[in-house]
Structure formats: C-alpha cells, structure tokens
Symmetry: C2
C-alpha cells in the first residue's frame, strides 16, 4: 500500500521467481536519452540517429540485413517493474490493463520497435525510430515482417 511507485488505482500481483526461459543479451543500444523522462513516447522516423552495437560473436549474423530498409528491433527494458496488472497512465487516475498499453511496465518488459536502417558500420547498425534509454540491452534484430519475403518458397 505504501509503495511509492504505485499510482492510485494501480494493481500489482505476487509473482514467482522468473525462470521459464533465459535471455542472452546480444548487444547494446546507444541513444541520446540517459533518463526515462527524456525519452520520446514513441520513436519517429525523423528522430535522431541511434546506434545498435552487436557483440562481436554476432557480427556474421548481420550478413544480408543491408537489403532491408525497415527492421524490427527487440530490447530488454531493464529498469521496469514487472508486477503491474493495471496501470494509471493518465493524470485523471483512470486505470487500464497492462496488455492494453505499450508501457515498458509489463510482466516481460520487452520493447519492440520498427526502425529505419540508415546504414551498417561493421557490427553497428545506425537507425532512426527508437525511443529507448541509452544502454538498453539488445535481444534481437530481424527484417520487418512486411518487407520480408521468405527465401524459401511457401509450403504447399
């Protein structure tokens, strides 16, 4: 009841220790935003260039990505609490379910962004359209589903 991070009307649940599956971070995202308050609410394609730095072991896995203009990026929102089922994002105190929001506060705080790939410098992607904090751990990169045409023919 006295948790200072909870707004009126918000609801938490008791969670078991996580551990159903484990992630390996594959790199880091560098953005101009060092504090949560500085981050834009949603990324914009005319926003600043940001850097996605892949760990060296994964550099060969970028081969072919240069053919795509739009890519999907997954990252771990490592400063987010995970136990809110209802949240109060508005100043009027109205609450809404966590799954009806794109808030970073969620049971598995994974952010997904669709970004424009400006260029690839070795193992670093230069992109526009991110909205996350500087230093955010990277989970995955893949071609945008709309642009991606499977190399293998559709199954019959």
């Amino acid at each position: 009841m006295s948790d200072p991070d909870i707004r009126p009307g918000e609801t938490t649940v008791e969670l078991p220790a996580p551990g159903d599956a484990a992630l390996r971070f594959i790199g880091r995202i560098r953005t101009p935003w060092a504090q949560r308050e500085e981050c834009p609410r949603q990324g914009r394609m005319d926003g600043p260039e940001c850097r996605i730095e892949l760990n060296p072991v994964w550099h060969p896995a970028l081969n072919g990505l240069e053919d795509y203009d739009m890519i999907e990026v997954l990252y771990w929102l490592d400063r987010s609490r995970r136990d809110l089922v209802r949240q109060s994002p508005r100043s009027d105190g109205a609450t809404i379910g966590t799954f009806a929001l794109r808030s970073p506060v969620r049971p598995n705080p994974i952010g997904t962004s669709l970004v424009r790939l400006v260029r690839i410098d070795g193992g670093t992607l230069i992109v526009r359209g991110l909205d996350c904090l500087d230093g955010t751990p990277l989970i995955d990169v893949k071609p945008d589903r709309c642009a991606f045409t499977p190399m293998a023919p559709p199954k019959s």
Copy 2:
C-alpha cells in the same frame, strides 16, 4: 561437423549459459499445428482462429484490450536452437545471416506476430494471423503500435 541439424554452409557459435534476463511465461497459444512442418510460413489474417490463453493472474491485465482490432503477440519458440549465426534456408545452399531472416532459429527465439483480435472470452483471446506451433509459450500481448494512441499526451 557431424551435427545432423546443420545444413551445409551454416555456422554456429559457442554460447555461454543464458541468464542475462529471465522470462516468465504468461500463458499458452493454441493453434491447429502440432508439428513444425504443418505451420504456415507466415500468419494470414484469413487463417484459422487460434486461442491465446492467459494464466489467471493476468486476466485483469486484459481490460481495455477489446478496443483494439490489431494486437502484437510475443511468444517463445521453445524448440529452436540458438547458436546459428548463418543459415541456409534455401535448397541451393546459399547462406545468410540470422538477423536477415525471420527464422525461429535465433539467439533469443522470440516470435512477434501482428494478429487480428476477433474477440475476448474471459481470459482467452481469439485471434487470426498466427503461424506458431500448438502449445507455444506466451510472453506478451500489446496493442499494435500503429493503432495505439498513448492515453497520456506526448511529452513536450
């Protein structure tokens, strides 16, 4: 070299134990596809209805999701190997980097799908557009980024 799951030209890397972050599964996805060979390559909006079953603790977190027609679903591709940096999806043996594919084989095997929300039955979402195996563990559900208008005004 004798790994029967590796195609010619594919490359693996040695990975440390995972553990940078831990996921909690929040439910299960029920689809008509029990074997990988049966799954469609990409989900279709005119595909069959599938069920996303949330664990009871998360049912209140669905409140408000009914306002959205299109939702984003994240799930764990629990049968996928995670150490391929280059893959050979075509029969001609050409290889391409893992991050230039939407293959389930990736360092963190998280699938993302954009699906049509047909209806919500209690704690179960009925959707169209999935392509994953029956029983796939659920990680997250959120409104499609295109449809989602933040309830809070943009920051100045």
